[in-house]
């Protein structure tokens, strides 16, 4: 009865999903937090109260105050400014590396799934082998051996994150290839490109969107983790991971240096995870995570 009513209203799958998403309060909060973070990151150069490298050696490390909301570090640098600039890097790495993994994963998975047969078996066997590689180790080796530059960081992280995406896309393509409605489209004489554009992509899109949303926090975690080990973003740039590392080193005397960057990172991760979970429920995607 409900579906009939919806059909009457003419709501499409996507409108329906959006409606369900808007009803999920946590997901909406997540989207808002994320949007704020992105807006702040984009606007950082114009809104920061201090220059990025402005030192105030006389002041030194000071706790949160009216002049310095998040306090200052040992060199008297404003922590709020540094957290904002760090967020730019962290978010950029998150989005860029996810884009790399998205591109590689979708192309690889769709190819394997569409070609099927022996090619598919070989391609997926390769993915299985890469799964057995200890990811973090792999990234560490890459970063150590090939110098610590930020482009390599995208590639390294993207390179280990595309595997699951490839599996998901392949699975979707495989299952869709043989479903009745694709057959029906073929019987009706639609061209291959039309089938791919109008039927395959919309159906694969749901899981891809969900998994992408859930990959971004993972990627940001890896970046922060690498930076924490000193392998990620290098000075004079900084990211939340770098700031957390500095904060952890100084936490005995200046705990705020650890607390604020940690809060910024965790809040963003929360937002992305809630949004991802919400999207998964709204788009009714199963097995997109873990």
């Amino acid at each position: 009865m409900r579906s009939e009513a919806q059909a009457e209203k003419g709501t499409s799958l996507w409108q329906d999903a959006l409606h369900r998403l808007m009803k999920n309060r946590l997901a909406v909060v997540g989207a808002c937090v994320l949007a704020t973070m992105v807006a702040l990151a984009l606007a950082t150069p114009w809104i920061v109260p201090y220059a990025y490298d402005a030192q105030d050696l006389e002041l030194g490390a000071s706790g949160p105050s009216r002049a310095h909301w998040f306090g200052t570090d040992r060199l008297g640098r404003d922590l709020l400014t540094r957290v904002l600039y760090g967020g730019r890097i962290s978010l950029m790495v998150g989005f860029a590396a996810t884009a790399v993994s998205l591109l590689v994963g979708v192309v690889y998975g769709a190819t394997a799934g569409y070609l099927g047969g022996r090619t598919d078996a070989v391609m997926m066997r390769f993915v299985d082998i890469l799964y057995a590689l200890p990811f973090t180790i792999f990234v560490i080796i890459l970063m150590v051996l090939f110098g610590r530059n930020i482009v390599l960081l995208f590639v390294a992280i993207g390179a280990v994150q595309w595997l699951t995406m490839a599996r998901i896309v392949r699975g979707q393509v495989m299952s869709l290839k043989h479903t009745d409605f694709i057959d029906a489209a073929r019987v009706m004489g639609f061209s291959t490109s039309r089938i791919i554009l109008r039927h395959l992509i919309p159906n694969v899109l749901g899981p891809v969107i969900v998994y992408t949303t859930l990959t971004i926090p993972n990627v940001m975690l890896i970046e922060a983790f690498l930076s924490f080990l000193g392998l990620g973003v290098q000075a004079p740039m900084s990211s939340w991971g770098v700031l957390i590392k500095e904060g952890a080193d100084a936490m005995e005397e200046y705990p705020w240096l650890l607390v604020f960057p940690s809060l910024a990172l965790s809040a963003t991760l929360f937002a992305l995870n809630f949004l991802g979970d919400g999207l998964r429920d709204a788009l009714d995607v199963r097995a997109a995570k873990d």
Partner: protein
């Protein structure tokens, strides 16, 4: 079953070979060598060192020599820790990581399962939201944040536990919790999802119709099926836990394998890097195999298919 096991164990070998080859050439192709930073050493000595470690031979020779060595189970001498073989170093670090990983796994399983099953029994009530919010916290607070924060509170402010080190049991509490926390969170989410799905199945209704107690319905009838997602997660998770987390071992100064590896990577200790990668990969593959066996044991429908 035996045939299945033999086939799977043999299947591990080519995978390891691919990994060794990949990492071997990646290391050699990278700019810079292991002895670059040692400035005081004269070129002759470096030559001698390179000759000693067979680094002056053509690349394919080095590769074949390394494989021959591997076939004997020898991971070679460490480039940086003079007088130590890689086998010895791993033997030194792994038991520590194993112990830490074991405690962390205990933490993860006990907290994760309890939270997940509790939540699944009354979905969309406080009994569900409370543990699941906690789980989300565990996922969103990375261990390199959680670790320092726990030290800050329990060691520095409260003074209950030591800051770092690896001696008595009191040294192991914070690292185990820090390492286990995010795994506990994932296990909680997975077991909740699995149990929720199973609890709506017809056979659970049958079990209730038989007049079984709720406890028996949940633990005897539903648990096996509900834990399937957790079991498949445990493969990679256990490998990750037991190999020790680099960050945890760094934060808490635990002399485990993870820290040895990070040091080796920074030092460009070729053989040590290769050796640890190989060791970790073997661990992961073995755990995945173990998971498949466990799954067949849990789900009789998988048994006959020979997996």
């Amino acid at each position: 079953m035996t045939r299945f096991l033999v086939r799977r164990v043999l299947g591990i070998v080519p995978v390891l070979l691919v990994i060794v080859t990949l990492v071997f050439f990646m290391i050699r192709l990278a700019p810079g060598g292991p002895f670059d930073s040692e400035r005081r050493v004269s070129p002759e000595i470096i030559k001698n060192l390179e000759a000693y470690y067979n680094l002056d031979a053509p690349l394919h020779r080095q590769y074949l020599a390394y494989l021959a060595q591997l076939a004997r189970g020898d991971l070679g001498p460490s480039f940086k820790s003079a007088g130590w073989s890689v086998n010895e170093l791993i033997g030194l670090g792994f038991p520590v990581s194993l112990e830490l990983g074991f405690y962390a796994l205990l933490v993860a399983l006990s907290i994760g399962l309890a939270a997940g099953i509790t939540a699944a029994r009354r979905p969309n009530t406080l009994q569900d939201y409370a543990p699941m919010s906690f789980a989300m916290l565990g996922i969103c607070i990375p261990n390199f944040v959680l670790g320092p924060l726990l030290v800050l509170v329990f060691s520095l402010w409260l003074g209950w536990l030591p800051v770092a080190g690896w001696e008595g049991i009191e040294y192991k509490i914070l690292p185990a919790i820090t390492l286990g926390a995010s795994y506990a969170a994932y296990i909680a989410r997975l077991s909740r999802g699995g149990m929720l799905e199973i609890l709506t199945q017809d056979f659970v209704r049958t079990a209730r119709a038989k007049g079984l107690s709720e406890t028996r319905v949940v633990f005897v009838h539903a648990l096996r099926g509900g834990l399937q997602p957790v079991v498949s997660f445990l493969g990679p998770a256990a490998a990750g836990l037991l190999s020790g987390s680099f960050v945890i071992e760094t934060v808490f100064q635990v002399p485990g394998l993870g820290r040895l590896f990070v040091q080796a990577a920074f030092n460009r200790d070729y053989t040590m890097i290769l050796g640890t990668v190989l060791f970790f990969a073997t661990l992961i593959l073995l755990f995945n195999l173990l998971v498949d066996v466990a799954q067949a044991w849990l789900d009789p429908r998988l048994r006959n298919q020979g997996v």
